[in-house]
């Protein structure tokens, strides 16, 4: 692709071509992909290098199940988008007016690819995760300092539960824009999901410095310290969160979990009780309360507590596991087996909604 192609990209279609293209987009948005495809092909018949039509054609082909054709079309589009960015780097500001003109003429495109400058988003929407990541990394090598690009793609990757490239993107944002508390928070969250405790702590501590305390942040930071494990530090953060959000049960739930890790079951029991009184619809504190009562041998009480947990959330499968233990200890073999079967069913169902990366990231 030459600079002349960029000019082509920016050129205004004739009113007829433009109407036809916009109609194709409308059909596309209405899920009439066959109709849209015909429209894009009409536009491309007149303007073979018109990039937006080629990009949308690829997406329509994909959605029609013609995936090889889509890939082939898209690979060419990607290449050109990549070169656009190279040219923008090369020509600097002189290339911007071209992009501006295109954005003005085709506002729909602004957010789809011209503003982001990459096909990664489209690839993401198609479920082509590896290609999306590869595309992003290629673009990032050209424009490592484009905070807007990296922020937007980081968000998209995080939404798609691709936390590794999301972290990469937000790492780039905070280098360029170190005062962006939101991106530091995203960076911290991404690292937390990836179980990279030290980088998560660094990022979340940064947010604390930039944006001040809020309960959610303190809980996330506390959880990260808990996993390090630095339980005392975690407890300190959870207690600060409890003071900031006195009506929330979650900080007390986390306090209970941390105390359990220290083997302090009495303190944990109090914390879970407090969490449950503040937030009776949260099943987790009741589940753990039941577990502690079961450990203590108070099986009848554990039974009632676990039933309350299931009343709060009938799909809280963890409670069924403990319920099975309770019935087993009470000598109720049939009830124990039934609870176990329910636990297994619900657990399978819950596992089914995990993404591939989430499942595999477990190891």
């Amino acid at each position: 692709m030459t600079f002349a192609s960029i000019v082509l990209l920016a050129q205004i279609l004739t009113p007829g071509e433009r109407a036809s293209f916009e109609q194709a987009i409308a059909l596309h948005l209405a899920s009439d992909f066959e109709g849209a495809l015909r429209g894009y092909e009409g536009t491309l018949g007149a303007r073979p290098d018109f990039l937006p039509a080629r990009l949308y054609r690829a997406e329509a082909l994909w959605l029609l199940g013609r995936r090889d054709e889509a890939r082939e079309t898209l690979s060419r589009v990607q290449e050109e988008l990549f070169l656009v960015r190279v040219l923008r780097r090369t020509f600097g500001e002189s290339a911007d007016p071209l992009a501006e003109r295109v954005a003005e003429a085709y506002p729909l495109e602004r957010n789809r690819f011209l503003a982001t400058g990459t096909a990664a988003l489209v690839l993401l929407s198609m479920g082509e995760l590896e290609e999306a990541i590869a595309d992003y990394r290629r673009i990032a090598s050209i424009d490592p300092e484009d905070a807007t690009l990296h922020r937007q793609l980081g968000g998209a990757f995080a939404s798609a539960k691709l936390f590794s490239p999301a972290v990469e993107a937000f790492e780039r944002v905070v280098v360029t824009d170190p005062g962006d508390a939101s991106s530091w928070r995203q960076l911290g969250s991404g690292n937390l999901v990836l179980q990279r405790w030290e980088p998560a702590i660094d990022a979340l501590e940064k947010v604390l410095g930039l944006a001040g305390e809020d309960a959610g942040l303190l809980l996330a930071l506390g959880y990260t310290y808990e996993r390090m494990p630095n339980i005392e530090k975690a407890l300190d953060l959870y207690r600060r969160a409890a003071r900031l959000a006195p009506d929330s049960g979650r900080p007390h739930y986390r306090i209970g979990r941390a105390l359990m890790t220290q083997g302090k079951l009495e303190g944990a029991e109090k914390a879970f009780t407090k969490a449950s009184s503040l937030d009776p619809k949260m099943p987790e504190p009741l589940g753990f309360l039941g577990e502690i009562q079961l450990r203590r041998g108070d099986t009848e009480l554990a039974l009632r507590t676990l039933e309350s947990a299931l009343a709060a959330d009938p799909e809280y499968f963890e409670a069924y596991y403990h319920l099975a233990q309770v019935h087993r200890r009470l000598g109720r073999a049939d009830e124990a087996r039934a609870a176990l079967v329910r636990y297994e069913e619900l657990k399978r169902k819950k596992r089914g909604v995990l993404s591939q990366e989430e499942v595999l990231a477990l190891r």
């Binding site: 590896e130 936390f163 590794s164 972290v167 990836l194 179980q195 990279r196 405790w197 030290e198 980088p199 996993r227 390090m228 494990p229 339980i231 359990m260 890790t261 220290q262 083997g263 079951l265 589940g287 753990f288 577990e291 079961l294 450990r295 499968f317 963890e318 409670a319 069924y320 596991y321 403990h322 099975a324 233990q325 087993r328 200890r329 124990a336 087996r337 176990l340 636990y343 657990k347 591939q356 990366e357 499942v359 595999l360 990231a361 477990l362 190891r363």
Partner: protein
């Protein structure tokens, strides 16, 4: 003051009266294990090997069998092979592999010693990725490969194994834990991640394998009873296996540490000879999962009565970012996870544990806990992973109140390695328990226990008569100084390994074992009184003490 104790004081090493010293250099043990590529591209390359301590030549000291692995791409030349080292005393060994007719070249995992034919010498099972190998001890310092006639040929991926008389016929039966359905030529195509870094796919990218139970016919052949026993109904990513009396009856039960598939507790419900039957009690026992029914990545396992209530508890090692689990046996086949109350949970979170063993290393009359560590991903060192590839081992001192204290640094366990299996035994016959750790891509660690013999202790070599010759499954309860300790004679435990068959009891300050009751697998029960400390007693079923020595 001994030099070791002086050094401890100078280094501020704490109160531990003993220390481990790695004496592999100059010992004559020279096997640097092969186990896949250094890059660890496939699951098959990271599970490692174990060791067996056994007196193969009946000269009253422990010899060392070290398992070797293999690789997908081997350099030209002789393939890697297992080794047998004869104990020459003083932690000096001679490689006698060839003379003994050993040296298996399969992709090795575990080693298990046991007297399969009750002829008085230990036979040897080597578990492999691919066919296992059973060696019959010829009684003259040599072995014969009897795998095929014994009916043990099986091409799956085998990990740990344990011998035990499951049907009470006086012969050792066999449980073999298998790991995953795996073909080297067909590795998984999925990309797999750990902390966002692409790594070799773990078990979830594979199918779990069915495990094996073999009944010993008594003529050096085995019948595969995996299906009829109920075991093969449920596959699992098996690693460690241990047999003990988990529901307190006279029959040996089986516990298996499975990687990410829930651990197994099979309670032995055999009522008739020749028909081994298990009840799957895994989930309802409380020992199959942890909080909320979560599977851990079980690796190694050992059983032992850590709290002196006479029941065998369980300790299971797990993956990093998760804790090693101590299941307290509440009786009746029910268990409670007490890892955190026992102070074992938090301390083990950064480690990936494999071999583990309950043992009284300082002879203070309670069971301490050893954990061998080493990560599976070289990538762990390439970013802030919160852990490391090579890791130090851990020793937890039993505080006698249901809790443990981490004394790893004080006893000299700081060296970082890729540890896997561990075999325990008194290698230098000085009255305390030494440890052999099988390290991946390295020499083993030969950890001599210096100072563990400063307290009183006794040990027992059990010789079954109506029971199997090794007395595997016998329960020995010792009372002294107002305390009671119970041990089970076992064959196989921890991870891919096999320990000194003698039962070591620390007596602390007590000068004698006041009462020793042995419940033999045959059902016989015998009582011995006032056995002086500092001695090893060979006790023959229905006969009594037949030999004793320091």
């Amino acid at each position: 003051m001994r030099l070791g104790a002086l050094l401890l004081l100078l280094s501020g090493g704490g109160e531990s009266p003993f220390r481990f010293v790695d004496v592999v250099e100059g010992s004559g043990v020279d096997l640097v294990t092969t186990f896949g590529s250094e890059e660890k591209r496939f699951i098959i390359e990271y599970t490692g090997t174990g060791a067996a301590l056994t007196d193969y030549d009946s000269d009253s000291d422990l010899d060392l069998y070290l398992v070797n692995g293999s690789a997908i791409e081997l350099p030209p030349g002789a393939p890697p092979r297992d080794r047998l080292y004869r104990n020459e005393g003083g932690f000096r060994f001679t490689d006698v592999t060839e003379a003994a007719g050993l040296g298996d070249t399969g992709w090795g995992g575990g080693a298990l010693a046991g007297d399969v034919d009750n002829d008085g010498d230990p036979d040897l099972l080597v578990t492999n990725f691919g066919s296992n190998v059973l060696y019959r001890n010829n009684g003259d310092g040599t072995f014969a490969d009897v795998t095929a006639p014994a009916g043990l040929e099986d091409g799956r991926w085998h990990s740990s194994a344990a011998f035990g008389d499951l049907d009470s016929d006086g012969f050792l039966d066999l449980y073999i834990a298998n790991h995953a359905v795996y073909q080297i030529a067909e590795p998984p195509k999925l990309p797999c991640f750990w902390k966002g870094i692409q790594i070799a796919c773990g078990p979830l990218a594979h199918r779990p394998e069915r495990h094996l139970v073999y009944r010993n016919r008594g003529d050096f052949s085995f019948a595969d009873v995996s299906a009829s026993s109920g075991v093969s109904a449920k596959p699992g990513f098996g690693f460690g296996v241990v047999m003990d009396h988990f529901d307190d009856d006279s029959r040996l039960d089986v516990y298996v540490a499975n990687d990410l598939s829930g651990n197994f507790l099979f309670l032995n419900r055999t009522t008739a000879e020749s028909r081994i039957v298990f009840e799957d009690a895994s989930a309802l026992s409380g020992a199959g999962f942890v909080e909320g029914g979560r599977e851990q990545a079980g690796m190694g396992v050992d059983s032992g009565d850590f709290n002196g209530d006479g029941r065998p508890d369980l300790h299971v090692t797990n993956f990093s970012d998760d804790y090693n689990t101590l299941y307290r046996n509440d009786g009746g086949g029910l268990f409670t996870d007490v890892s955190f109350e026992a102070r074992l949970g938090e301390a083990t979170l950064p480690y990936l544990g494999w071999g583990t063993a309950f043992a009284d290393f300082d002879s203070d009359s309670d069971l301490d806990l050893l954990v061998v560590n080493g990560h599976i991903y070289p990538e762990a060192d390439r970013f802030q992973s919160g852990t490391s590839y090579a890791q130090g081992n851990l020793l937890f001192e039993n505080e006698g109140d249901g809790t443990f204290r981490d004394v790893s640094a004080a006893v000299g366990l700081g060296a970082k390695r890729l540890g896997r299996g561990a075999a325990l035994g008194d290698v230098d016959e000085d009255g305390d328990l030494d440890v052999i750790v099988a390290n991946m891509h390295a020499l083993p660690s030969l950890l001599r226990n210096d100072g563990g013999n400063e307290r009183n202790r006794v040990r027992f070599l059990l010789l079954g008569a109506g029971s199997n010759r090794d007395g595997v499954g016998a329960r020995v309860t010792l009372e002294s100084g107002g305390r009671s300790q119970t041990r089970t004679a076992k064959s196989g435990g921890g991870y891919l390994s096999s320990h000194d068959p003698r039962l070591h009891f620390g007596l602390g300050e007590a000068r004698a074992a006041e009462r020793v009751r042995i419940r033999w697998p045959s059902g016989e029960s015998e009582l011995f009184e006032t056995l002086a400390s500092g001695r090893t007693y060979a006790i023959k079923e229905r006969v009594g003490v037949v030999a004793e020595r320091p």
